[in-house]
């Protein structure tokens, strides 16, 4: 497709009522929409990120075009000529709606790696290794080859771990009694408690049907835990929804038919409720001149934080069963790929500090989300498809994790930027990891040969994603995180939903500063070592005086680390240009700190000037 270019396009400030704008040129490339303003600042928008394009009625200054992105960026252009606007609109509609996987960016994205680097990248996360780390296979759990050819369940991975006592007929029987064949399998094994998190889909119980193999399957899971006789079955749906499913021949476990199970509903709403909840949230947060009360009531009406709390409450319930009662837990919802993935992965994150490291978090996503068939393609609308399948289930997972990082600032190796970057790429279709709906589909697409894995790229730039407050000894190994889920601990995630609305962000970042300082400390320690080595070399012969001095200067580093980092005013400790956190990924020209300096001295506070305008009129 040919490069299109439109001059004198205005980019409006989303929240300014005085129509503050930047003028520049809009370029349309095969993969991106690019806007370069008069100050040569670039705004890149990936076509795959576009969720909706809207042409508003013509105004005197031109034709407005509003683009909403999946990463919650909203841009408002005014194109001088209606014809140009119409052209861009049509092109964007086409470009943002992909019909085939092969047309996605990942298949053309070329990071200049050779084949072996590409393969190595894909091998970075090895789930067999991960199960080994958890301690399986062992006396109770084994690798099953039942699904080796995706014959039993198309949406599960090939390699599944099940209780040793669960024979193949039991597995096959159980899978026939479960929605989409998603029979109970191991998701996480707690070494110390010998308790397991297992996952599956709803049973096809209807009003009275039962299945002996399925009952055996649950019993096998129960028996695979020597420390407790009973197990929990968590249905993550609201009871009403589960009951309604019985009329369709699905439903939930009848406690009378299964021995030693404790059945529990935890009431997380379905994907449709979540989709409309996010829609409401975005409507509220996108309002110009929003009042505090409208914001809070909008937040309440959207139900969004209630849903996040429900997800985290469910995870806390799960974790308590395992950590306090040493009981195994089987988690399911309807199909076992949305709410089940949320609860299982959050549960594991609370139980096992490995998942709170950068690498561990990648493993967790690969395991509970990618391999177990969370339908990323449908949920994130990678291809033009059924809008009713779209739902922010994974976003909710990230937001739950973010809430935990806020409550436990020392427990996580990664920071908010890491979560935001993953969210960015779940929608970008730039890497192969999240393409498709299940492993089988990914294999058919030959993603490992044709696309690249996201994880090695994140690891390469992991400095950006490190939490400077992370303290590995705060929660060693299997330390349980016990979050307080009282309502006021759940906050609106401004940096997610207003990631690109910078006027709303804190103007200075503590994390960046701490990161820079620790970086600087490292550098200084390095310098000290080198200087010491130099002194040693020079004074090696005889000089006693120098040696004395040398001894004095041998330990300044720890002293410096101990005293609170108070700055010396005469020396600019923070290099102004380094204090940048780029969230937008590929775009490195983005320098927030210098912009901040500029903003401080030049720009006006958008919201204030708005009210100012109102105030003036009453004069």
């Amino acid at each position: 497709m040919s490069l299109k270019q439109v001059e004198h396009v205005k980019l409006l400030d989303r929240f300014s009522t005085s129509n503050k704008s930047l003028t520049g040129t809009l370029y349309l490339t095969a993969t991106h929409l690019l806007f370069i303003d008069a100050n040569q600042r670039e705004t890149w928008i990936l076509h795959h990120h576009i969720a909706a394009v809207e042409k508003l009625p013509l105004t005197t200054s031109g034709c407005p075009l509003v683009i909403q992105c999946k990463n919650f960026r909203v841009v408002h252009f005014v194109v001088p000529r209606e014809r140009d606007c119409h052209d861009i609109y049509n092109s964007l509609l086409q470009l943002s709606r992909t019909a085939k996987y092969e047309e996605l960016y990942a298949f053309s994205y070329n990071p200049k790696q050779n084949e072996s680097e590409q393969a190595k990248g894909w091998q970075l996360i090895d789930l067999a290794e991960e199960y080994k780390r958890m301690g399986v296979p062992n006396d109770y759990w084994q690798l099953s080859d039942a699904n080796r050819d995706y014959k039993i369940c198309e949406t599960y991975p090939r390699e599944l771990y099940v209780p040793r006592t669960a024979s193949k007929p039991i597995i096959v029987g159980s899978s026939k009694f479960r929605s989409k064949g998603r029979f109970p399998v191991l998701s996480y094994y707690h070494k110390d408690k010998k308790a397991a998190i297992c996952r599956c889909s709803q049973p096809l119980s209807g009003f009275s049907a039962r299945c002996l193999e399925d009952e055996h399957m649950l019993q096998a899971i129960s028996k695979a835990n020597p420390s407790n006789r009973y197990m929990y079955v968590m249905d993550t749906r609201p009871k009403l929804n589960a009951m309604a499913n019985r009329a369709a021949g699905k439903g939930y476990e009848n406690e009378d038919n299964y021995s030693n199970i404790r059945f529990q509903f935890v009431g997380i709403e379905n994907i449709h409720v979540m989709r409309s909840s996010l829609q409401k949230l975005l409507e509220v947060s996108g309002t110009k001149g929003l009042s505090v009360n409208d914001f809070l009531s909008g937040l309440e009406n959207s139900g969004w934080l209630r849903h996040i709390k429900a997800v985290l409450d469910a995870a806390v319930f799960l974790v308590k069963a395992i950590a306090v009662e040493s009981a195994s837990v089987l988690v399911h919802c309807s199909d076992g790929w949305d709410r089940t993935s949320q609860v299982c992965s959050l549960g594991a994150l609370l139980l096992d500090s490995y998942y709170r490291t950068i690498k561990g978090f990648m493993v967790l996503i690969e395991k509970d989300w990618i391999s177990f068939g969370h339908k990323f393609s449908d949920r994130c609308c990678q291809l033009d498809g059924d809008p009713k399948e779209i739902s922010p289930v994974f976003t909710q997972f990230l937001e739950s994790v973010w809430n935990l990082t806020e409550q436990f600032p020392q427990a996580f190796e990664y920071n908010e930027a890491f979560l935001l970057q993953i969210h960015e790429h779940v929608h970008s279709c730039q890497f192969g990891n999240f393409l498709g709906n299940c492993q089988k589909e990914r294999e058919e697409l030959k993603l490992k040969e044709k696309t690249y894995s996201l994880w090695p790229f994140l690891l390469d730039e992991q400095k950006k994603y490190q939490n400077p407050l992370y303290n590995p000894s705060f929660s060693p190994n299997l330390t349980l995180l016990e979050p307080n889920t009282v309502s006021f601990n759940f906050k609106f995630w401004r940096n997610m939903y207003h990631q690109f609305d910078r006027s709303m962000h804190p103007r200075q970042s503590v994390y960046d500063l701490i990161m820079d300082m620790s970086e600087q400390n490292k550098q200084l320690e390095e310098d000290i070592k080198q200087l010491e080595a130099k002194i040693k070399r020079k004074s090696g012969q005889s000089d006693v005086v120098l040696l004395k001095e040398h001894q004095q200067s041998a330990h300044p580093a720890p002293v410096m680390l101990k005293t609170p980092p108070c700055f010396k005013k005469d020396q600019p400790l923070i290099p102004l240009n380094d204090a940048v956190r780029t969230i937008e990924g590929s775009n490195t020209a983005d320098n927030r700190y210098s912009e901040f300096m500029e903003e401080l001295s030049k720009a006006e506070p958008a919201i204030v000037s708005l009210e100012y305008g109102v105030a003036r009129m009453t004069c």
Binding site: L290, V292, L296, R306, R507, E611, A615
Partner: protein
């Protein structure tokens, strides 16, 4: 000594103390004239709680058998619970606490009895004299002078003895202007913006009344602060309708014809009981244990607390914007000019003046714009969120100001020399303190009470190097720029350290 009469049971053993977030401790409870003291008396890990009676906002007692329970709710929003064995002891202790926490004479307050255990390096009472401040101003401009017209507090009882006024206006004129302004609070200089020479003044409402009285001297004073061809903004902290209604009670606002270079902006900021109710509702919402998200959000909304924070911060930004962006001088007033006016003038200074973001500068700001400017601390901070008694003059005006400062600190974490703990400390001392700084309602009362002679200044304690280090922000790097906070609802947060962290009931 009359305190002893109020204490029937000075000591009780085997008392159990419950506090939020901490395990219960058993120990001994002692009552003194000014403190409730609890000691775990454990050899290995002695723990003591000293609570000023004046910090107690309300107490509740209840009994289960002979075990009595007293729930103490403090003005700094803490809630503690004491289980006291023995009904009589419990009743005695409860009535003593009630009596001791509601002493009506200021001179019986703890600051008059407190003897410092530290050596005073610099007396806080004389650390921020108007004369010294004026020296800095005088080095920049000679258009202003100090007037001692109020030295015996006869012109304006709520003003300090010394204030800064335009040089061209003599004391005789000031006297006439004072008659035209509510409470005698004639316009005085609040802030001089070095960058462009613009000024911020504050006053109270003009007493125009229904028949539109005017005062030529007032017009002369206000107009004299603007050069020819320059414009100024009068920021009225009431809505237009409220200002119009004020005329019926003898108050009013500046009519544009008489102040041709000035434009009036009405930026309404809530007052008194509305703010007090807001705090009560907010604390109630925070203490709600129902774990229901919708209920929390609707209660938070109903409290309106964050709306007030946004309003006040926005008004502060507006004043700062007029001065820095529009190159205009500003005159701020509401009705009395002792509450919302001071919130706005002090916030504007924090935005504009980097000095106000240092510890010393912030202290100076509190002294100038709140204590000397006559914010009635004693009235406003007499009761806090838990009080059952009928509200009179209580209002969390100062707490809201501190909250706004925290919002800025939160958005500019490297631009303030002080930390959150400093703000929390000021909040606590404004409500209950061993220091005399926040006693009295204005300088007049303070001088009558002889506070500088009889009590210790909070600043004497804070400014000791070993204390000061607790209040320092390690990330501070002097930033000479104007800082514009975002006032979008998405950018404002509930001040956890000041409000939430003390809450959460144990019950």
């Amino acid at each position: 000594m009359e305190f002893a009469e109020l204490i029937k049971t000075p000591r009780a053993d085997n008392v159990v103390l419950h506090r939020p977030f901490e395990p219960a401790v058993e120990g001994t409870l002692c009552l003194t004239g000014h403190h409730l003291i609890f000691s775990s008396r454990r050899q290995d890990n002695a723990e003591e709680l000293w609570l000023l009676h004046s910090n107690i906002d309300s107490i509740e007692k209840r009994f289960v058998g002979s075990l009595g329970t007293i729930v103490i709710k403090c003005k700094d929003l803490r809630i503690i619970q004491l289980d006291i064995p023995g009904m009589e002891e419990c009743l005695n202790i409860a009535s003593s606490i009630e009596a001791l926490s509601t002493l009506d004479s200021v001179t019986l307050m703890y600051p008059f009895f407190y003897r410092p255990m530290f050596e005073i390096v610099e007396d806080g009472w004389s650390a921020f004299l108007p004369e010294k401040e004026f020296e800095f101003l005088n080095a920049l401009t000679d258009e202003w002078r100090l007037t001692y017209i109020n030295k015996d507090f006869s012109i304006c009882p709520s003003y300090p003895p010394v204030v800064t006024v335009p040089k061209s206006i003599d004391d005789e004129t000031l006297q006439k202007v004072a008659v035209f302004r509510h409470g005698g609070r004639f316009p005085v200089l609040s802030y001089y913006h070095k960058k462009n020479g613009m000024v911020m003044m504050r006053t109270s409402q003009p007493l125009t009344g229904t028949n539109g009285k005017r005062c030529k001297d007032d017009e002369k004073l206000i107009n004299s602060t603007l050069g020819p061809g320059r414009r100024g903004y009068i920021i009225d902290t009431r809505s237009l309708s409220a200002a119009q209604q004020a005329r019926a009670k003898g108050g009013g606002f500046e009519v544009e014809v008489y102040y041709p270079q000035w434009r009036r902006i009405h930026k309404s900021v809530e007052r008194f009981n509305i703010l007090q109710e807001s705090l009560i509702k907010l604390v109630e919402a925070c203490n709600d244990q129902s774990h229901n998200m919708d209920r929390w959000l609707s209660k938070l909304e109903a409290s309106n607390w964050l709306t007030h924070v946004k309003e006040i911060l926005t008004a502060g930004c507006l004043a700062a914007q007029c001065i820095d962006r529009e190159d205009a001088s500003v005159l701020v007033h509401g009705t009395e000019g002792t509450d919302s006016t001071l919130q706005i003038t002090s916030l504007a200074q924090i935005i504009l003046d980097p000095d106000c973001r240092t510890i010393r500068g912030f202290e100076s700001l509190i002294v100038r714009e709140w204590l000397q400017a006559g914010h009635p601390f004693q009235q406003r901070c007499a009761q806090s969120a838990y009080s059952n008694s009928k509200q009179k003059w209580e209002a969390p005006v100062f707490l809201l100001f501190l909250d706004c400062v925290w919002q800025m600190l939160h958005q500019f974490p490297c631009s303030f020399e002080f930390n959150e703990h400093f703000l929390v400390t000021l909040f606590e001392h404004a409500y209950a303190s061993q220091f005399g700084t926040f006693l009295g309602n204005n300088e007049n009362e303070r001088s009558k009470l002889k506070l500088p002679q009889k009590t210790m200044s909070l600043w004497s304690w804070v400014n000791q190097p070993e204390e000061l280090k607790n209040f320092k922000n390690p990330l501070f790097e002097a930033n000479s720029l104007v800082i514009w906070p975002s006032v979008a609802p998405q950018s404002l947060q509930l001040w956890e350290g000041g409000l939430l962290s003390k809450l959460m009931t144990i019950l």
